[in-house]
Amino acid sequence: MAATDENLSRADDVEPTSGIETSEESTPAARDATPSVTAVVVANDPGEWFSETLESIVTQHYPRLGLMVIDAAGDPGLAARVRAVAPAATIVDGSDTDGFAAAANAVLETDIDPAFLLLCHDDVALGPDAVRILVTESLRSNAGITGPKLVEWDEPEHLQHVGLVVDRFAVAGDVVDPAELDQEQYDAVTDVFAVPSACILIRTGLFGTLGGYDDGMNRRGDDVDLCWRAQLAGARILVAPDAVVRHREEMVERSGLDDVRKTRARHQLRTVLITGGPVSLLFTLPALLVLTLGEAGIALATGRLSHVTDVMGAWTWNLARVGDIRTRRRSLKEINKVRQADIRAVQQAGSVRINAFVRGQIGRGDNRLRRELVSAIRTGTTRFALIAWAMVLLFVFFGSRAFVTGGVPAVGDFAAFPETSGELISDWWNSWNDRDLGSVGVVPSGFGLLGVLAAVLGGAVGFVRTLWILGPILIGLIGAWRMLGVTGSRRAQIGSLIAYAIVPLPWASVASASSSGLVGYAVAPWLITVLLRAQASAPYRVAAGPVRSLPSNIVGLGAVLGLAVIFEPPVILILPVVAAGLIVGSLIALHPAGLGRLLIVILGGIGCLGVVALPQTLDLAISGPSWEMVAEGRSGVASTLSLSSLLRFSVGPDDWSTLVWALAIPVSVPLLVGRSWRFDLAVRLWFVALVSWGVVFVSARGWLSFGLPDPALMLAPAAAAVAGLAGLAVTSVEHDLRTSGFGWRQALLPAALVAAVLAGLPTLAAVETGRWGLGRGDFTTTLPFVDPGVEGSYRVVWLGDPALLPASGRELGGGLAWLATLDGLPTVSDRHIPADEGSGPLIEAVVEATLAGDTSRAGRLFGGLGVRYIVVMDRLAPAPFSAADHALPAPPALVEALDGQLDLRQLVGVNSAVRVYENTEWTSVRSAAVGGFDEGIEDLFDLAVKPLTGTAAVLSGTGESIEGSVPADTEVLVTQTPDADWSLEVDGQGATRRRALGWATAFVPVDGGNATLSYATPLWRRLALVGQLVVLGLLASAQLRRLVARKPA
């Protein structure tokens, strides 16, 4: 330490408790009875407020208070500034120190010996009685360190700190919420783990024993470290809130150096390393490392490399200081009087860091945003919003409790997942698709990502599957919440949220096991929001123009659609529905502004979608577009869905109560009373709903020559529009109703409220089963399929109404659809129709020939395709898990045709929900046959005359690499779509390939032996998958960035 000015005294020359003026009230008697206190203010080039700081000290109502100012910055003008306010103050040169801790420790080098030290920053202003109160409480409670209540400098009604809670990782958190109003709610004297270093009263002896602050910490964390060590030394730490200190807390702004994250991370780890016991460190350090890695991972995902460097650098920084840390541990050990367990007991359980992240505090600036957040929470509507969300989530989870506890039965679209996450990932990573007769095509990447998620969660496939089914509901609810966020009306958002929760659509979708309906429910509100933003009519614009730029809207639309399409390709069809509704609505409302932008965004969004869903785009480019991929086996035939049912979103097996009609009242409110943009928006949303209903209605009437996907999917825009209209009703009441004169409009509010409650009753009643009416069981244990490992791999042909099939079917006509699966029930990898149909039409041809009565040997024909079972579905789930009155029985013509086949054997007594036929002339999908077995067979239908005989099953199983043994002097017949990327090796020697039966493949090995049949996915396909992952990663990163950067609403 060196003198920088001749006016400055060396520390050891300072006279104790001298040089401070006492207050006028002080008396000699009082001075004798009170312990001496020296206020130590560390000045680091303070601003103009410093005079106020000094004044607040020198005007304290405390008789024995000295003042020492430590000049940490070597400011030549400081002395004059100090003398101007406190002529008797001692000024110590601390310019050779780095940081507050080291500067404050300079007091230990002086010979002053007051009873207490009041260590202060240079940006605090003490209340008049602060020192007295602190000393009094310290003496009364025998506290080692006592801290005041810190409030905002400029807004002293806002609390800043009332002590700190600290977790085992030395991460500090506030007791108070950011910018919390001081309503004396924290004015009781309280034990805390630490107090901020801005202003603390510490016994001088204790400070000396502890060796002062850790001078290895130049900024931040020093207070926690000091208090932790004080606690280990047996000292008590209190907050005396009656002592009020204003604090500017502007270190970053003053220094111009934003190293908050870096220094905190370093010093927290240093504190843990110094204060932690050997045993506790065994747990604490790995846990801290995991937390650090997690934080770094999130930072990496959001592109914050400096964040990664900061948190990871803390470890290297401390590693470089191991020697120092070891020394301090030894010193601490000498004064340690308290067990680590006792310290744990007063620490915050869990992780303050995670709590802070959840609250959105990591990575943000400090107080301003937190204050906004807290202000928002403090308002009544926000509390109401939280309550509404809590109720909606409770409703969803209570209604889905059976799924959460027991999983979701594998019926309808809710196909089972493979047993392991690895299989799911493998199905996606390898481009061979086993369904039907096999074809090249990707499994939608969403399922690959779900596989990755399951792997990350330790193989929790069942949990991820439940998430796959319930997740869309939550995403849809969030979308409904955000739809009217731009209006600034929290009540409108609540209205949309609740309306979207009570429309029967998602619950009917669950009851009918409609995955596409659920994904449509998830996407529709987001899609409407994106397109409304694209159109940029009020309120989706600011004074300067659109809320978002055209490219941003395009990417947004592409992302929304892309993320949906990678799970459910048919979802693409709701885009034209929403777009048409908005366009017509805009025209009817005579407000066509922005339609050009809308069209541009739609076209651009489709292009962007092509990139997001790159592998599927490439498949389509190669195989050509196929309407089957989106129609899911549905044809244009009329259905029984009435207009009344679809207006009530009653598309499940059960008819929903007519009480749902009551929703018509709230959704009519904005049309009846709305003005300005509320009316315009209402008209547009009404037409979105009308187009959605209209499309389904036209389809249900049988007026279309082509099929549309599940009505639940096509009705999703209507449901989202209804939710938006309900929200608009609220905002219309807020803005428009109160300006209307007294009349019938005033009756709308109570009427709408009552109607909304009535409309929600049927949905509330639906929670009773805990599964929304979906059956408890599935066909997993019902269907008598033989283990393919026993008699060889086989195919199962599924026939029935498209709504009942266990995966998306291909249209067969007459309201029927079909699909074929390998080795039993389909998994989610078989769920969607690949763009390439492969040799699948052969199955269709056999079924059609059977239906036409052209053959009574369907078994022989199916046998040539490896089909062992034909399952005709009458119900979604097996009895007793599905009601007979929910059946969609197969047409008598189909049953008659199958019953009349000589080589199909109906397996009686299986279950009343299905008819299962076993093919008595089936041939395994992979079988060994004597050469020449297919002589004279050039067409599948030749098998009716000359059935395959003398074959033996080999190489059973699924996947892209199948192993087994092959007998000598045989060929291996593989009855699947021929593809040059399949190869057979027997004892390491490749087998030649030839076309067999006119459509299948036969491998001709040189000899018998151990064989491997494998498929080599083309490299470009994998590159496409990787490219898609990169695009998804970029989108996710951009979205996370926006989330992190966005101010709280």
Partner: protein, 472 residues
């Protein structure tokens, strides 16, 4: 603003209202059409179910006759089914030149089995498979079924074995792998009876000796309800008395029909034709008209019948006074109450007659078509053609197929609701393979008269089968 609000409300409300109005209309549900299930055999189905008969030493030694009425070589694969538990023989393949017939001895394919049936798969649409029977009391022939069914009706039979030598049997063929289970109910003049849970083993033939179940009945009808599976069934009726001798093996009628045709009935001297109509409905009474179709020489009122549920009505045409002026004619059996009924005609020429004696029987035909195949056998044979349409004139071309190909014999026009017939003698040869082609759907039956026995039988549809009710 008010105008815009009104416009919006009107448009939105109007669209919804229009939707509801439209939705009042019935929808056109285009489901898969129900299969046309007719009793008459249709050649292009390719699979023939033959309930069969006895072995060579039995009462109705069965054989198959495969007739190729096409213009190319046809292949047929015969799978014989046994009545015992022995292993099912392997199928045997045959090839037929165009315009030829092939006789197959079924007992030879399943030696040792008392009863033998068959499934014949042919891979040519113009091939007909018929069963031929040869017993001590006579001979018979009838085409095999081209469909299986879950219900069969046998309208008539007799079991007075002791005094009249009448024996009745039901043959049931189950061509499928799974066992079939049937319930059989009898309605006889001696009272009702029934058999329940009769098992017809998979790929086997089962026989019910009705004579042992319903004894000494002059009239007995049977209804076979298949509880599980599907079968094909026929009736074997033996007459062996001093007055009447004959063997009839008649296909049972699947399901019944609202309208059916008996193309060949007669009130000839010394011949007794009896029509039996059975109402299989357990609850509904059938009001049935027997409409008389002639060659145009006479117009007669129909014979009106009331057939109670589960009962059978017999009409002896030989005692119907209004028919006294007629010789050959056709009958349309029409259920006015649209309760499907089964009908059969049994023609008896007693031993005392100077004509060819014997008993012949055939079920009513429930389908019409534009093309029929009718193999004939014997110089006294004939085919009968009926135009069931109420308005359309059918141009009939009679063609004979032989090894040399197709020979158009004659073309005639047949007015609405008219019947005509063609004698084998006019068609050339003793055993012509006759094909009848028509410009409008017609019904073709045949009467085969040999030296010692007589048969009546349906011809086989060689084109699309049309239920008669749809072509009137």
């Amino acid at each position: 603003m008010r105008a815009l609000r009104t416009l919006s409300l009107v448009v939105i409300g109007g669209l919804i209202a229009v939707g509801f109005v439209i939705d009042l209309d019935d929808r056109d549900f285009e489901r898969l059409a129900d299969p046309v299930t007719v009793a008459v055999p249709v050649s292009n189905t390719g699979t023939w179910f033959c309930p069969g008969g006895s072995d060579a030493s039995g009462r109705a030694a069965v054989g198959l006759e495969i007739v190729n009425a096409g213009d190319g070589v046809a292949r047929a694969e015969v799978s014989a089914f046994r009545s015992d538990a022995e292993e099912v023989p392997n199928p045997v393949s045959f090839a037929l030149d165009p315009g030829t017939r092939l006789a197959v001895s079924l007992p030879d394919l399943a030696p040792g089995s008392e009863w033998v049936g068959a499934v014949v798969e042919v891979f040519d649409p113009d091939v007909v498979v018929e069963q031929t029977y040869d017993g001590t009391t006579g001979t018979d022939r009838s085409p095999c079924f081209t469909r299986t069914a879950e219900r069969f009706i046998v309208t008539d039979g007799a079991t007075r074995e002791l005094f009249h030598g009448e024996r009745m049997l039901l043959l049931m063929l189950n061509p499928f792998h799974e066992d079939a289970v049937v319930d059989v109910s009898f309605d006889a003049d001696v009272g009702p009876d029934s058999l329940t849970a009769v098992v017809v083993p998979g790929r086997r033939l089962a026989v019910i000796e009705v004579t042992e179940e319903v004894t000494v009945a002059a009239r007995v009808s049977a209804q076979i309800d298949v509880v599980a599976g599907r079968i094909a069934a026929s009736r074997v009726q033996v007459h062996n008395s001093e007055e009447v001798r004959g063997l009839t093996v008649t296909p049972a009628t699947p399901d019944g029909a609202v309208v059916a045709v008996l193309p060949s009935v007669s009130r000839g001297v010394g011949r007794t034709d009896v029509v039996t109509v059975t109402n299989p409905s357990p609850t509904e009474t059938a009001e049935v008209d027997l409409e008389i179709l002639t060659d145009g020489t006479a117009t007669l009122d129909p014979i009106e019948l009331t057939v109670r549920p589960g009962r059978t009505v017999r009409v002896d045409l030989s005692i119907e006074a209004r028919l006294s002026e007629l010789d050959e004619f056709a009958l349309i059996v029409r259920s006015l109450t649209e309760v499907p009924v089964a009908a059969m005609v049994e023609s008896t020429v007693p031993l005392t007659s100077d004509d060819v004696v014997g008993v012949a029987a055939a079920p009513a035909q429930d389908a019409a078509s534009l093309r029929w195949i009718a193999p004939l056998d014997g110089g006294g044979s004939s085919i009968s053609v009926v135009n069931p349409s109420a308005s359309e004139i059918a141009s009939i071309t009679v063609v004979v197929i032989d090894e040399d190909g197709r020979h158009d014999i004659t073309t005639v026009e047949l007015g609405p609701r008219r019947r005509t017939s063609f004698d084998a003698a006019d068609l050339g040869g003793d055993r012509p393979i006759v094909v009848v082609e028509a410009s409008a759907p017609v019904v073709v039956g045949r009467e085969i008269v040999g030296f010692t026995s007589r048969q009546i039988s349906t011809a086989v549809i060689g084109d699309v089968a049309l239920p008669i009710v749809s072509v009137e």
